[in-house]
């Protein structure tokens, strides 16, 4: 195969990747999109293997079989609630692979068809690919630990922010030193292993330091951000190997992660900079202390079922508390039961309802809730005013009307307008505050009835009462 043919096949693969992402514009076309992605990857791998010397192909195929089998087993076994951990772990692998490839490229540029010694342009790109890859790797490992709740075993994995004095100055100093070594590598005449190794080592440390101050509540932003980094790392490697397909695929992933980070920040009413600087949630619950005791109206699951059964329009607002209690399937049965009684049931989803973008949609889909019953915040917010009963399950900050009150800490945050409905049923375990540590006036409204208890237990009791 000539270099031109190879490049043209890479073009076909690149187009397949674009089509894979395009398919995700609707659940109807998404599966076909995924097949395009698989086709693109197959073309990319097969054409590359075709140009590789025969002697090594066995070894490469064995490595692929080993990794592929492991990946397939994990993909089959992982639970949908664990998707954020899985995605973080996969980001770390992309980051590590980028670093390994960069080391191999410094060692032996000829195997990539790049001149030996490396031209300065390629060195610069290699430097970028390496440090972004290294930061992606160690940052994702920390994110994985935080998401998997490994804080008990290792303090750096704590979901509470790890902060210390002078943290940001240390990071800045390290980054400058890293760029210094990068410049030394860039300017050296031949293989400059010392600055390259020093630069890579500092990048690994920086990845850890960047992620540890970010608290559990901001994890949706962190995963999206690392998603973006893993793409830029791939693009950086593509630059240094003069491989257009890697650049295209990397850029697609990089922009995807960047856009998701932006969407998550907007949904939490936080600036990207303040998320990155971290420390949010360190004083968790502290703000709640001053709140005076106000009266709430509480009722039983049977009372709630009665109200639901007699409504014409019901909107269910699931929060992550619902997933923690594993109550999705029971909620689905309630929705079916109400639909049988002629009630119009819909689900309303806030962008940060889960622990990563779109997480709650997947959890509901897993419980076999049809996706045409599930609505995004912007599409359903106008409907609450004409809704008889809203059932809020394990959500708090995302339904807090304080977001409309000037001067409140969450002023301006987009929320579900649950308070506009005729009757609001709120299931919570207790009156504890959410991540933002804020009291929620919704709970004290006359139209609100609190149903305390574990979400699964409460939902199952409602179901019994509806029969």
């Amino acid at each position: 195969m000539t270099a031109n043919q190879l490049t043209l096949w890479y073009l076909v693969a690149s187009v397949c990747f674009i089509l894979a992402l395009k398919g995700l514009s609707s659940p109807l076309t998404a599966r076909r999109g995924n097949y395009f992605g698989i086709a693109g990857m197959t073309i990319a791998v097969l054409t590359t293997i075709a140009v590789v010397a025969r002697g090594r192909v066995d070894l490469i195929l064995m490595a692929m079989l080993l990794g592929g089998t492991l990946g397939a087993i994990v993909a089959r076994r992982v639970q949908m609630t664990q998707m954020p951990e899985l995605v973080a772990a996969m980001h770390s692998l992309v980051g590590m692979a980028a670093v390994l490839i960069a080391v191999a490229a410094v060692n032996h540029p000829a195997s990539f068809g790049v001149a030996d010694p490396l031209p300065t342009g390629n060195k610069l790109e290699l430097f970028i690919g390496t440090f972004v890859g290294a930061i992606t790797f160690s940052g994702s490992v920390i994110a994985f630990g935080k998401l998997a709740g490994l804080g008990k075993h290792f303090r750096l994995f704590s979901s509470a922010p790890v902060v210390f004095a002078g943290q940001h100055w240390l990071n800045l100093a390290l980054a400058l030193v890293m760029f210094g070594f990068g410049a030394a590598f860039f300017l050296a005449a031949d293989k400059a292993w010392t600055p390259f190794a020093a630069m890579t080592a500092i990048a690994f440390v920086l990845g850890v330091l960047i992620i540890i101050p970010i608290g559990g509540a901001d994890m949706p932003v962190v995963i999206s951000m690392l998603n973006s980094y893993s793409g830029w790392a791939a693009a950086g490697i593509g630059f240094s190997l003069n491989n257009a397909m890697l650049i295209i695929a990397g850029s697609l992933v990089g922009s995807s992660g960047a856009i998701l980070s932006y969407i998550m920040c907007r949904a939490m009413n936080r600036s990207f900079i303040s998320v990155i600087l971290g420390g949010f949630g360190a004083a968790e619950g502290a703000a709640a202390v001053g709140a005076e005791q106000k009266a709430v109206r509480s009722g039983s699951a049977e009372d709630a079922a009665f109200l639901l059964g007699n409504a014409e329009n019901v909107i269910i607002v699931p929060g992550y508390g619902l997933a923690v209690a594993r109550a999705q399937h029971a909620v689905k049965e309630i929705a079916d039961m109400l639909a049988q009684k002629g009630v119009n049931v819909r689900f309303a989803i806030h962008p940060v309802a889960g622990r990563m973008p779109g997480h709650m949609n997947v959890l509901l889909a897993e419980a076999e809730v049809p996706y045409d019953q599930v609505f995004e915040m912007d599409d359903i917010n106008g409907e609450f005013g004409t809704t008889d009963v809203v059932l809020v399950l394990g959500a708090n900050d995302v339904v807090n009307p304080l977001a409309y009150q000037k001067g409140s800490p969450i002023f301006g945050m987009p929320v579900l307008d649950v308070h506009k409905a005729r009757t609001v049923l709120v299931n919570k375990r207790s009156m504890a505050t959410g991540y933002a540590g804020l009291d929620n006036p919704l709970f004290y409204m006359d139209k609100t009835m609190m149903v305390f208890g574990d979400a699964k237990k409460v939902v199952e009791d409602m179901l019994k009462a509806l029969h």
Partner: protein, 98 residues
Amino acid sequence: MGGSVDPTVINLVVFVLAVFVGYHVIWNVTPALHTPLMSVTNAISSVIIVGAILAAAPAESDFGSWLGVVAVALAAVNVAGGFLVTQRMLEMFRKKQK
């Protein structure tokens, strides 16, 4: 003017255009599918496996080519895991059966 264009400049052209394509395609993704989007982009960024295969390729093996073999295995975990878990999730998104 004259002479041939530096490969880096061509790379930059490809990069900028790809970012634009990415920007427009991603904003069209429905928010309901943002989790599958992340897992599939994960699989797609593992196309870095192409670089890993080239790194593993030299006939005379040295430490660089062994790192390449390791990189192939790591990227292969993502390729298989990413596409399969995406498929698994997308299978769940079904319309209401009438």
